[in-house]
Structures are given as C-alpha cells and as structure tokens.
Subunit: 401 residues, 2 copies
C-alpha cells in the first residue's frame, strides 16, 4: 500500500475483500484448466443471432436509445416485465413497482443504501451467495446466519435469533434469501417455509430481499409461489435478472417491491449510475418483444437439464462412493458438495494441480464454516469437459483419502 | 412515509435528496415546453446508423460479448482508450491504470467508496456539478467550496482552507474539479492554476478527481494540458465518458489513475455492479475501431459550436441589456447566467408559465448560494426552440424588472 494513500482511505477500503470468484479468473484462464468455478452460462446457448436482430431497435428508436434514460428504467421493458412476470408475482405489477438495474448485484447495493447503517444486521442463509454478502458488508452489515436443510433455511430459528439480537441492541433490518435453486446449496425454500417467513417478517418488522436469479430455469418439480406473491403489506423486494435467462453480458436486471422502497432505491440509483445502459435495456426489450425470450427459455432449460444430468452421472462414475455428499438441484446452476473426510482446501490444491477448478465453500459462510464444502457450476463446461474434469476431481480426492 | 419502513431506513435514506435535474423530467415533458435544463446531447447528431453497424461485433465476438465481463472493463476498449487518450494523458496509459465504468457518476461513487468515511471533507468548486456532490453526500461527505472566476477555482485559497479545516479536526480527502467548460460555470481551469493545484495536492496529501466529460468538445482556444499529465506521484484520478462524444445511452465511461487506487475502485465495483454492460462496451469499442469516433467528433464540435453561437445571439437579441451576465464558454454544454436584480426562483416560475425551463443555480452550491444564477444547456434544443425559448425568457425577465 502506498504510504500517502494509507491516510486517505476509508474504513470500507481497509475492510475491503475482493470476491474470491472474480479473483479466480487468472487461475481459470490457465491453459488446459477445466473450471466449474464461476456461475457462468454456457456461451454455446447464447442466442447471438437473435440478440443481434434486436439491435434493429436502433432503426426505430435510435435517438431515444442513445439518449439518457430515466433512472427508473426503459419504460417499454418495464411494461413487458409487468406482464411477463405476472404469473410469478401473483398479479400484474404497476410500472412504478419495478426498477431496472445494472445487474442484480446493483439491487443488493441499492437496497443496502436504503436500509443499512454501519453495524446493522441482515439475516441470511448459511451458506449464502458470497457476492451479496460482500456488497452488504461494504455497507457495514453483519450477518445472522440461519442453517439450511434440503427445504432451505430453517425459518423456525429466526424468531429466537431476532429476539436475542434485539435484546443485545442489534438493529436487524432484513432477511436475504435465495428462494429457488439456492446459490450455492441448490435447494428450494419450501412453500410452507415461505409462508412462515412472511409471517416472521410481519411480526418482527423486517423486509425480505427475495433473490431469484434462477427461478425461471427449473428442470423438475412444480413451481413454488414467490414470497412476493404472498406479501400483503409491501415487505418483499423481489430480484431477478436477464443474466441467466438471456445473457449476463447485457447487465440488465430488475426488482419489484413496495413503491416507496422502489422510489428510495431509484433516488440512490441517481447517485450510483444515473440509469442502466439504455442501449442494453432497449436491445433486451426488443429481444423480448420479438418473442425470443419465450422461445429460447425452454431450450435453455433443456440444455441445462442435460448438463446437470451429465454432471450427476460423472459424479456417480468418478467420485469415490460414500466419500462425497450432494443434493440434486431441480434447476439453476450449481451442485454443492461435501467431503466429510477431506478439507475442501486440500482438495482444491490437488485439483488445481490436475487442472480442474471449483469454488471453496468457506467464502459462502459469512460467519465461518464450510471447510468441507465446495460449489460446482454445471452450466458452463462442455459435456466432455465435465466428464474429464470430474474424473480428475475423483483422482484428486482419492489421493487424499 | 409508511410507518413500518421508518424504523428500517438507513441514515442515508433520511438524508437522501433527489437530483433536482432528474426530478424536473415531468415538468420538461409538458406539451410545448422548451427545455434548457438537462445537460443532454442533441439526438439529431447521434450517429445512429454507425452505432447500429457496431452491433456487428456480435457476429465476431458474440459469445464473449454476451458472457460476464471482467470488472476492470472490456480489454479491447481499454487498449483503444490507452492509445486514443495518450495526447491528453501525456503518455500511453497501461490498461491496469484504466477502469471502465457504468457512466461517470459511477466513478464518483467508486472513488467515494475508496476515500470517504461519513464526516470526511471534499474540496470543490463553488458552484459545482450537483450530480457529483449528491453522490458524495450519500457517502457522508461535506464540502469545502472554493469560489471561482473566469479562470476556474481560485486555488490560492485552498491551503488556508485545508489548514483551518485540519486544525478543526476535519479529514480532508480530495479535490473535485471539473477542468474544462465547467458544469455549470462554462469556464476552464487555467494552466497556471492546474499546476498550482497539483502542488497543493502534494503539499497537503490530497487526491484530485479531475472530471473532464466535456474536454473533447472544445470550440475555441487551445487545449490546456490535463492535471493528470502533470502528476508525477499518482494523485490524480482522471474521469471521462462517452456520453458527450458518442451518446449517453451507452452508459460507458472510464477513469485513469494510480494503479492501486484503480484496483481498490475495481474491487468496490465488484460489489456495485460486477461489470459494466459488455454489450454496451463492445459496441462502443467497435464504433471506435471502425473509426467513427474520430470522424464524428469534429461534426459534434461543429454542431455544438453553432448551437452555442445561436444561444449567444438569442441572448443578445432577447434578454434586456445589462440585466443578465454570462461568460461565453469555449466548449461543453452550458451557459451560466446571473440576474443581479431578479431571483432565479422568481424567474423560473414566470418562465415555466411561458413554457420555458432551465436549472436553478442553488443546487449547484453545496453550502448555499446562487440565488441569482441559473444554468442553460445549449446543446439539446433546436435552433428554432432556442430562439423561441430565449425570447420567452426575455419576456419573463422583463415582467420581473
């Protein structure tokens, strides 16, 4: 650290931690490396041609598309989303209940601006998406973590947790939950628990950030109603994104919630980036308007179901039996694995030697834990890479047993 | 404010102020309104066709363009900028001295993350760009404001100001300055003052945020070297954007600075929006690569010079002589006017009745002032609108004298 900078940095800079996933990029790019690390879509499934067709909106709306947009988001896209999301939302949203954002990380950032003072507390799953906790931590949040099973977070534990925290003078502001095909766990939050969660939020005056980037990528089982659709008092901010259903390079996401909260988030967004790229929003809108979102989504789902199945098959074929536990996700992007006898760190070192990479479990635990866990993304690698990569992983594990 | 939300909001939310410019949008959209308010480019000059041509990059790089990008920015664009900005930067930048951002407001946000703790102080021009101070204020900054004349901020006043503030225990972190065609003043910071400013930054251990969104849009006079080009110790973060030289709807901007500072900003960006829209970055890059940036810039400059001249002419023709003062800007987007006998607020009310709008001076003064000032953007309105709008403004003013 340069000396003259040290006395100028903020406290947040001294506490700053880079995202372990983003920081792995240099490792992943080594020649021959097979990576199951980042939660990246398969570029083979990107609808490049259809998205390029969407640039045609410049012919029709070029002058508007290249001008500053409203902070609230590109209105035609908001109108499209109001209709398109109605089944999941339980009703058609008003456009002022929707905010378009620059990726869904920005939703976490904006809601943190609205709710978090340094020292405030957030309730979240243990483990949970490390990107979200990094953002909240920059805002000064600490975490009350709730253990999970195959039905998601054990919501029954929350009341006692909140009461204890509040007795200690801690300000608990909201619950962060990833409801479908949890990142990293792969599980769904059950209907019963969703109902309980909204009751708890009511009783303890908490908001809920319902993060659902993978909800539209379901392979098996019936859709579970969103918490948003059960909310009668405006306590839920629902977050979704085009990253997984179209392409992350657009950086277009959206959230829906209480008009007052959305309005506060919008005013913070004025100070954060003024508005999301209108070029990106308009192309995403045109892609949707042309019907490509609806026609491609089944292809994406089918493609990723096959990839999940290929990974599961490779697990069974190459991993030493009984030494690795996992839950089969019914959608989304990830497997979460446990190696009771082997530390994930040791396995990682061995695996990288053999040119295969994954993400360690520990950074997903805001308060520590996960030494024997790791996350594997099944969507990015090709079928051949998956087979080869997991065979290498099996070898690495065997050498450690 | 909903009752249950009140106890959940952060302090920043209670202090939150919307941007007066963004909030004027509903007013500006009234039928028949002629607006000189927002700092908007003329959509008539947008290179729509050329930008659409740039979507061709999807044919070549579609799979990369639609995937997650690096937080640092799209490498080909950074490489282009390293070359293209060399004359202004005084040398060719290394790519890790550059960070691509989602508009230049994000540069202010990220640097605020790096430097500002609640209660810290920033030195800025009086008046200064209100968007920047709103962002910094959200981070908890207060402002030491430096009066300006036709050569920009009176930098000689800074040493005493800093010494006094530091004696009072105030942490002064950086100097925010808009160097060319100041927003809202229209003036340039003179070469002599730029040299002094960097000396002051050295002596008092301050960073400088050199904001230069308009620098490439010069109509008259010789280019003044950037402060960045005079910096030998890595104290200057230089900010620029494609908003004014291509189109704001892209939301693609960049900054250059000390690698360590750029790195910290990059890590905060991981938590803010992961990466700038790769779609937007790649299209901007392709537009540049095809030579359109260089071929269009002279057209933009010529177009806006004519618009400035038209506004100046209308001022002379329609405003009551001796009752309005202004400085003729040598580039950029704005006139800053003063009506010594009339309060800008009264003029604004009268003007809106006559369907002409501008921005009041007051919000540009972080610590109060500007009651007799207002800002007029000359780039957006057509020649006919400018003539008609300023004729209405002249009427409004006459009624108040």
């Amino acid at each position: 650290m340069s000396n003259f900078l040290e006395s100028l940095y903020s406290q947040a800079t001294f506490n700053l931690k880079p995202s372990p996933i983003r920081e792995m990029l240099h490792l992943i790019r080594r020649p021959g490396m097979i990576s199951f690390a980042g939660g990246m879509p398969d570029p083979e499934i990107f609808p490049v041609e259809q998205f390029k067709e969407a640039a045609g909106i410049l012919d029709r709306e070029g002058k508007d598309v290249l001008q500053y947009g409203t902070t609230e988001g590109y209105l035609p896209l908001k109108e499209f989303l109001a209709e398109w999301t109605a089944p999941k939302m339980g009703r058609k949203l008003a456009t002022d209940e929707i905010l378009i954002t620059t990726g869904s990380t920005q939703i976490v950032d904006l809601l943190s601006w609205v709710l978090i003072d340094k020292g405030d507390w957030v309730i979240c799953e243990e483990p949970t998406f490390l990107g979200a906790t990094l953002t909240m931590r920059n805002h000064g949040a600490s975490f009350l973590t709730v253990p999970c099973d195959e039905n998601g977070m054990k919501v029954d534990m929350i009341p006692e947790m909140v009461e204890k925290a509040r007795k200690e003078g801690k300000k608990v502001k909201f619950i962060y939950t990833i409801v479908n095909f949890h990142n990293p766990l792969g599980c769904d939050l059950s209907l019963e628990r969703r109902k309980k969660l909204i009751e708890i939020a009511e009783k303890y005056n908490l908001l809920i950030l319902e993060d659902d980037p993978y909800g539209y990528v379901r392979f098996d089982g019936e859709e579970i109603p969103s918490i948003f659709s059960m909310d009668t008092s405006g306590r839920v901010v629902f977050a979704c994104s085009f990253s997984k259903i179209l392409a992350p390079g657009t950086r277009v996401a959206w959230c829906a919630g209480n008009k007052e909260v959305i309005r506060k988030m919008t005013v913070f967004k004025q100070g954060v980036d003024v508005c999301t790229s209108v070029v990106a929003q308009a192309m995403v809108y045109e892609y949707c308007r042309l019907g490509h979102l609806d026609s491609f989504l089944p292809k994406i789902i089918d493609h990723y179901r096959k990839k999940r199945d290929a990974m599961e098959e490779a697990f069974r074929k190459y991993l030493p039996q009984g030494e690795v536990k996992w839950l089969t996700p019914r959608g989304g992007f990830f497997y979460w694995l446990e190696t009771p006898k082997v530390k994930a760190k040791d396995l990682f070192e061995k695996a990288v030697e053999k040119k295969v990479a994954f993400v360690l479990g520990e950074p997903f635990f805001p308060n520590g834990g996960g030494e024997h866990n790791f996350r594997m993304c099944f969507t990015f690698a090709s079928k051949e890479q998956t087979e080869e990569g997991i065979s290498r992983l099996g070898e690495a594990l065997r050498e450690l047993l």
